[in-house]
């Protein structure tokens, strides 16, 4: 979606800027631009903008799931649905708190692991010396093209009490857990279980005690975490691979001439150049992991003991199963706010000079392309300088 919007913006703004002071031409071109993007704007409006508006209305109404949300008889109830979810010590708030806890551990574990793993995989399959590169690239990418439902079902079999994973653990005399039925939190297990110290027992945020907040991902959730890493690493490997190939051999060779060893080349040359891609991967990873739904829906439906309940699944459950549509929509919007907040935080931490770096790289690449084009394609020189100059000084 964001790509399409970005394209739309570029389509509309690029001619506007290059035309400069010829305002009539500018308007005509802008009009043409809008004409071209109109079908997409209409499609996005109907299938994205309109449903979002409707959901926003449902989240502040008492719509009960029958007839249209804007039909007479549906009343505005203000922030009541949000208050049910965010405030108080009721079941609605506690369920939401539990789902946030579960998903937070999921995000904290999945995002760094999948980013690191995909980077490593990209490096491995980018090696010049590697034989059967194509095979490995396909193999690592394969889980990403498989439907998440199919992988979840596979996972249920692999991680069942008498499944393949436990059988392998058995070779090492490890008595594997009953993965998808085990609600014990990893941190709790590391601390030796029990009920925790007294000062952590009082109901805290969302009515959940400090001890429960510290439970860590349950064994069942850990299986989902492994699955997320397994399925998405391939996708992100592809992103890293693309930018690794864009860097090219020359940079690496230049660093070699300067006497940098392999680690130094990675740490001080390649990694800084990958920064925009890392930011992209982290952002996509964070958004994807906060929205985890299909695995939960297919696999555990929130169980065991609600330890795989996530806000996205809770939202579905509240609306479709409990017929509590206002609460379901409210959860969805709170989740949206959380995702925006996390992405903003990430941008603040590591994306601050991202724009500048990426713009510099982009400009260099465009100039290189323009020069190549000028040499090879007749008439290509006309397009080259225009794009280059439109970027302006930064």
């Amino acid at each position: 979606m964001s790509t399409t919007q970005g394209l739309a913006r570029t389509a509309a703004s690029a001619p506007a800027r290059s035309a400069g002071h010829h305002s009539r031409l500018n308007r005509a071109q802008a009009g043409a631009g809008w004409l071209f993007v109109a079908p997409m704007v209409v499609v996005l409006g109907i299938f994205l903008f309109l449903p979002v508006l409707m959901a926003a209305w449902v989240s502040v109404s008492d719509w009960n799931g029958r007839g249209a949300p804007w039909a007479p008889g549906v009343n505005f109830v203000g922030g009541r649905n949000y208050a049910d979810v965010l405030g108080g010590q009721g079941l609605a708030a506690r369920d939401f708190g539990v789902s946030i806890r579960n998903n937070l551990y999921y995000v904290i574990l999945v995002v760094p692991i999948q980013t690191a793993l995909s980077l490593v995989l990209a490096f491995l399959v980018n090696k010049r010396a590697l034989r059967a590169k194509g095979f490995y690239r396909t193999a690592f990418y394969f889980p990403s093209v498989t439907s998440s439902v199919a992988i979840t079902v596979l996972w249920l079999f692999l991680f069942s009490a008498s499944g393949a994973v436990n059988a392998v653990l058995g070779w090492f005399s490890i008595n594997g857990p009953n993965w998808f039925a085990d609600p014990d939190g990893l941190i709790h297990l590391m601390l030796g279980g029990g009920d925790g110290p007294d000062w952590l027992q009082a109901p805290g945020l969302f009515g959940i005690s400090g001890w429960e907040w510290l439970a860590g991902p349950s064994v069942a959730m850990t299986a989902f975490i492994l699955m997320a890493v397994f399925t998405t690493s391939g996708t992100f490997m592809l992103l890293f691979l693309a930018s690794l190939q864009a860097i090219g051999e020359e940079t690496d060779e230049a660093a070699m001439v300067d006497g940098a060893n392999a680690w130094q080349r990675f740490r001080y040359v390649t990694l800084p150049m990958l920064r925009p891609t890392i930011f992209t991967v982290l952002t996509l990873g964070t958004i994807g992991t906060w929205q985890v739904f299909d695995q939960i829906y297919t696999g555990t439906r929130g169980g065991p003991a609600k330890t795989t309940l996530t806000p996205a699944y809770l939202s579905y459950d509240a609306a479709f199963v409990s017929q509590d549509w206002g609460r379901g929509a409210a959860i969805a919007f709170v989740l949206f706010a959380i995702i925006v907040a996390f992405t903003a935080l990430q941008r603040l931490i590591l994306g601050r000079d991202n724009d500048r770096t990426s713009r510099r790289i982009e400009r260099a690449r465009l100039q290189a392309t323009a020069q190549t084009a000028a040499h090879t394609v007749p008439g290509g020189s006309a397009a080259g300088p225009t794009i280059g100059s439109s970027d302006g000084p930064s």
Partner: protein, 412 residues
Amino acid sequence: MPRTTRAAATSLAAATLLCLTACSNGFSSANQTPIASESANTNPVTVLIGSSGDAETTSVKTAVAAWSAKSGIQAEVKVASDLTQQATQGFAGGKPDDVLYVSTDQLAGWAKNGSLEPYGDQLSNKADFYPGLVKAFTYDDRFYCAPKDFSTLALVINKSMWSDAGLTDADVPTTWDQLEAVAKKLTKGKRVGLAFSPEIARVGVFMAQAGGGLLSQDGKAQADAQANVDALTYVKKLLSEGVAAFSSDLGAGWGGEAFGKKMAAMTIEGNWITGAMTSTYSSVQYTVAELPAGTQKGTLQFTNCWGIAADADNKAGALSLVEFLTTTQQQLTFAKDFGVMPSVQSATEQYKTDNPAMVPFINGAQYAQNLPSMAGAADVLKDFNSQLTGLKGKDPKTILASTQKNLQAVAG
């Protein structure tokens, strides 16, 4: 540039409003006039079912086709993969299927928002249904829909393990102490005596047997009653002694799987287990007994009804179809085709004659309890189930106290 953006945004907003007003036509509020007084029409009737398998689908399709031929009204059966979601979408869109399966869990939500027609009192065979089932489908003092069929829980026993342990027919437990004793005898190696899933829908039988239950006779929350504490304490004792186990702890999806795979010698399950035993675990010989009593006899019952949508195109036709589907003869046919128990009392004797092995299940109808099903109850039960998983290491009183708090919020 900013001007064009604003123009686009304005036109989008205008289009939005246009659609909002245009689409909002055609929805009317629920009317409460008797179905019979509505002018009869010949609109086709659609039936939405959530099927347990081919046997049920074929049987329902045959029955609906028979009614269609008799009444001259076209009828179509649709099998939902996710019934709740598909029905909900129909209700929200204002074009629901006319007749659909409704579970007790869903009744309150759909009755409250007016999606269902409360037609129960207009049924010509209303008096024939078991009173407990009528109660399960009564919301806000109105009998909403005709019970389709029902199930109860009973004790299922593995015959060869039973005799191997030196037990005879006379040893079938009728009290909690006897149940514990036979479970102990049947526990051998990794195999436990008794297994059932960690949910209120199984463990609740012990509450009923102790004279408790989550709701009192007048529908008030009483989760923390002493009888319930006794029941959970008893279950905890069985689990701690290792003579009973939750099916999930054995690595089975439900009690029937643990039983069929010989991980347990006994299980507490509903009459649907007979289907699984025949199709999947045909080598296991089993027998069914009524559940033992605590201070009284007790079991749980589960049921679905034939709901009619308030926005149905042909309510008179739908009502006639439901009456046809709940006749004594048709109920016996369903029972034969896919193993359910008839919801009408006039079919009971014939059913017992036809299915002698199922007698303990249908006898349970005399003393079976319904689980709480008011709006919001499903979430409370889910929360209770989530705590039940860890019963072995928890104080029953703590679990029941938190459930009481949640239940009071929805039941009063």
